[in-house]
Symmetry: C2
Subunit: 256 residues, 2 copies
């Protein structure tokens, strides 16, 4: 039963499609590889248009098409004016927000649906992070809990720490797929509740839930980390449903 | 402790942002509401440019900007030529594929990461679907298993039935968020293994796993549906890792 076709020969260029790419697409892809290969940071200047035309040996129109494509995809920004030109941006989860919001809107989804999806991702993320987080990161999380407790009167500090807490765990999960979705969902959920002020009591309850998660992560036990995170996100979903039923049921809407 | 700010007053227009939108953005959003409100199907013709200019009482440039925005977002396509004009398309999960692929590529993700994310979503989807699937849908799934078994020599039938099986369950889960991500991940994973032929024995093994899932769904037991799906997706991940280690470890790459 070894009649399977080896993958190697079928992907000579490692490409995941068989359609012959346009020249501008090839140039765009090579620029992506260049940025990743040289680990160019956000804000790094790329060669200017004239230099790129020479490097890739293509016409100016083709090059501009490639740059526009990369700009649309959030890989670069193009600075105008003298000394301007293409600058590295790097695509990020938030770039999917508008597209995802529109698909959800067409599917009739509500904030409750967004929270339900997060309630699926977060426990698994915590479970993976339990064995993958460095000790330094765990202490960072513990400090975030302290800050949240100490500043429970400050709404902005609360929101910042809340975001930092979940993002740190998601990044440490080592699962890029879960990290991307979770960040995108968070950004949709945050947008949905902009302006809703938590009470100091509510903020302390969230800090307490975070504390339990940190303890579970410290014990390096995936199951208890998963359970602590599940308790937290399910309680949060219930909170929104109870206190803001209209907001929770309201359809997700696209706003540019 | 009722110092929370009511949501209602803060969202007079139900908008999820506070930035004042450009006119073209407002027009685009109203067109989205029109399409959803009238449940216009893919392919439905929208009023032509001249009519839309009148309806929205905006200039031609503004209207074109709105239409271009909707085209970029996959909401409409614009047919050229006489009798042409804007036609409904409706955005779909696959529209996120390129954007997600790029973010994953910048994060250094591999096919294994994509499968790991699916292994998180699919069991939860099956668990939700266990109580939400109609009996008709369950029989459809049972027939899909039969077709897969009977046509185990036919690669295309296998792929079709495999896709249909997972999509039917995801749609029935009632969780739009999980459905969108899962479809997007599937489309990335499918692209990664294009051209890899399963053996008939492998296809029968997949049919057998699907059969067990259908039985669990029929029993309406979320836990056993979740367990059957988990066994299936984890086995699939292990299969790819064992038989195609290079393919599994290869980085996700953006291809337009």
């Amino acid at each position: 039963m070894s009649s399977t076709t080896g993958a190697g020969g079928l992907f000579p260029g490692g490409a995941w499609t068989t359609r012959a790419p346009k020249t501008s697409e090839r140039v765009a892809r090579e620029l992506v590889n260049h940025i990743i290969g040289h680990d160019l940071a956000e804000g790094a200047k790329l060669p200017n248009e004239k230099q790129l035309v020479e490097v890739f040996d293509v016409g100016r129109t083709t090059l501009r098409e490639a740059l526009r494509l990369l700009e649309t995809r959030g890989v670069i920004t193009i600075r105008s004016g003298p000394g301007g030109g293409p600058v590295v941006r790097r695509p990020r989860p938030d770039d999917l927000r508008e597209g995802l919001t529109l698909i959800l809107q067409f599917a009739g989804a509500s904030l409750t649906d967004v929270l339900e999806a997060r309630a699926t991702l977060e426990p698994r993320i915590a479970s993976l992070a339990a064995t993958r987080l460095t000790s330094n990161r765990i202490e960072e999380l513990a400090r975030s809990v302290e800050t949240m407790r100490d500043s429970c009167e400050d709404h902005d500090v609360f929101l910042d720490e809340n975001r930092r807490f979940h993002t740190t765990i998601a990044e440490a999960s080592g699962s890029s797929g879960l990290w991307v979705f979770n960040e995108t969902l968070k950004s949709i959920a945050d947008g949905a509740v902009v302006g809703v002020e938590y009470t100091p009591r509510r903020r302390l309850a969230v800090a307490e839930a975070h504390h339990k998660i940190v303890e579970a992560l410290r014990s390096r036990d995936p199951r208890s980390a998963e359970a602590a995170m599940r308790a937290h996100v399910e309680e949060a979903g219930a909170f929104w449903g109870r206190h803001y039923p209209e907001l929770s049921a309201r359809g997700v809407r696209w706003v540019q």
